[in-house]
Symmetry: C2
Subunit: 380 residues, 2 copies
Amino acid sequence: MEAFTFYNPTRIHFGVGMITQLGAEMQLAGIKSCLMVAGNGSIKENSVYTQVMNTLSKHGIKVHEAWGVRANPTLSKVREIVAIAKETKAEAILAVGGGSVIDTAKTVAAGVFLADPWDAFCTDVPIVKALPIYTVLTLSATGSEMNGNAVISNTETKQKWAFYSPLVYPKVSIIDPTVQCSLPFKQTANGAMDAIAHILEYYFTNQIAFSTLGIDDALQKTIVEMTDRLKLNPSDLIARGNLAWCATLALNGISGLGLSGGDWACHQIEHSFSAMHPDIAHGEGLGVIMPAWIEYMSEKDPSRFVRWSKNVWGEDSVSRGIMRFREKLEAWGMATSMRDLGIKERDLPELLELIMITDKVGDVSKLSAADVEALLMLAY
Amino acid sequence: MEAFTFYNPTRIHFGVGMITQLGAEMQLAGIKSCLMVAGNGSIKENSVYTQVMNTLSKHGIKVHEAWGVRANPTLSKVREIVAIAKETKAEAILAVGGGSVIDTAKTVAAGVFLADPWDAFCTDVPIVKALPIYTVLTLSATGSEMNGNAVISNTETKQKWAFYSPLVYPKVSIIDPTVQCSLPFKQTANGAMDAIAHILEYYFTNQIAFSTLGIDDALQKTIVEMTDRLKLNPSDLIARGNLAWCATLALNGISGLGLSGGDWACHQIEHSFSAMHPDIAHGEGLGVIMPAWIEYMSEKDPSRFVRWSKNVWGEDSVSRGIMRFREKLEAWGMATSMRDLGIKERDLPELLELIMITDKVGDVSKLSAADVEALLMLAY
């Protein structure tokens, strides 16, 4: 098992009614005023907003509001909210939403102390300070509620990049699975695929971290089973809860311990999809590129994929494992090709250029431009 | 899935050579002087002591030493070390050893601020302060390196009790699996059984926490496989590493989320075994009582044990699952009955009295004195 360091100080309150814990947690930390970051208002339709306001008010915490964060959150929105955070002298950032909202909140929390928030993503200037972050999760997918990562799109440069800092782990995250019962199945499935992708980015790097791989087998199987249940009944609270917790574990560190930091080629490629086409949902893009990557890689070295085919899909043959994975995504109504995602053939050269902008694509095998081109053709 | 709160701020440095991280971590926290707590000197035989002294000295950290902690660590030893900690004005407690040493260190760290350290175990006075704790693990078993629990025996009252405080999570724990390569197999197997027992205490409480149960299936299977490998080759570093990490995960919170806080009848019973007979290894005692508990409980409600028999032991019948579990422990050379542990039949009434001293034995089913008596007979 390879060496690793694990540290994750986020406190999780999980379960029905847990939003009520928020105000007390912030009060305990001495916070008197916060800036709430949110999306397009769906939290006003499902009582989450009311619950949040009630607990903050009960504990005497003043709140300002910044709305309008969208999927594939943008740098321009981050800049706008940084200005509000400074103006309102926010002592903490409270994200109420899914991964896009939380990632925006993290970038704002660090960005308040930077010349420009994009510095967090592309310079060697270390992040030395960030406002404390609290989250109320409304869509399980990215795992951002329990890690130190954020992904933001710079629409000017068409770059969708990530940063990590130990300073942006949320202090407290509230995961109440009931608030996800009103989600359309499409979003649930995209979230599930995102969580599976996080596990898979680590899974194939190393075959001797049995302790982590066993956990990763179990997480993948549970995600698939729970998503199947939610397709039949979106209000199945047992399935909602288990899916939510698996998605958090998929990227809180646990799923990657001893696995070399992961591969991340598929994420890098998908980030370029959605940097070019902001309407592509991250999970759906991953559902297109990830099976293609496995297929492409397994042609070179099938042995790497035997455990996965067997333990996750119950198949002795790798090609049948891949088939089962694709069939599942199709059954969930997800796109199965880049064409389905609305990407045009004429976009491919620009896409390739965007993907190859960094020195390194992937770790299991470092993909050359020719590899990535072949992979895109396979996924097209 | 039931509601839960999860919080675990311990930083883990895992892997070969990681002891070198210790000095830098303590220096970073501003610590200038610490009290090292250790066992009977085996760390001087396997270079751990030298590595620890080198990293502390390199970072200018003064160290005093308190030796002689034994298995089933005692309150009298804790009191002795509290006096040394006060006298040497220790700014931190450094545990170098297994669970007994770490539990002693935790109790000392809190005990320095209490009228008497036993107050931590039996009064309603909350623990409001503790010295920071650092650990270098030398035997994977109790999970104490990454939780807020400690178990200490009061030999005067024959009570072996536990306390929990968020203040005694180690700040940093170092897990270098190479230092365990010199362990006798007996100790490895006892440690493995202890880890399995931690998982099982949670496992049977609730059958809908699929996310956690899947992880728990995987942890149990990996522990069994790695222990089998270590029986053949104690220096198998891959097996050492994976077993070590499973043992940490078995009681760092992850394995019990959504599982009602666990049952803990078997731990309570075993603690009474070793309170009466301090030479009984905790893991070995658990290996006697736990299969008996499963057998006793499954007679009332076999359905609760179906998943475990199937997923961990590959058996459709519960009785065959129990048989496989017992066969495995026997193959590892462990005791299979209370008689094997050296407990005399005439001790049983006193043992029963000791076990029933608290109001509650178990949670899956609250065991009466008659239940416990029947269970002891089954295990005898």
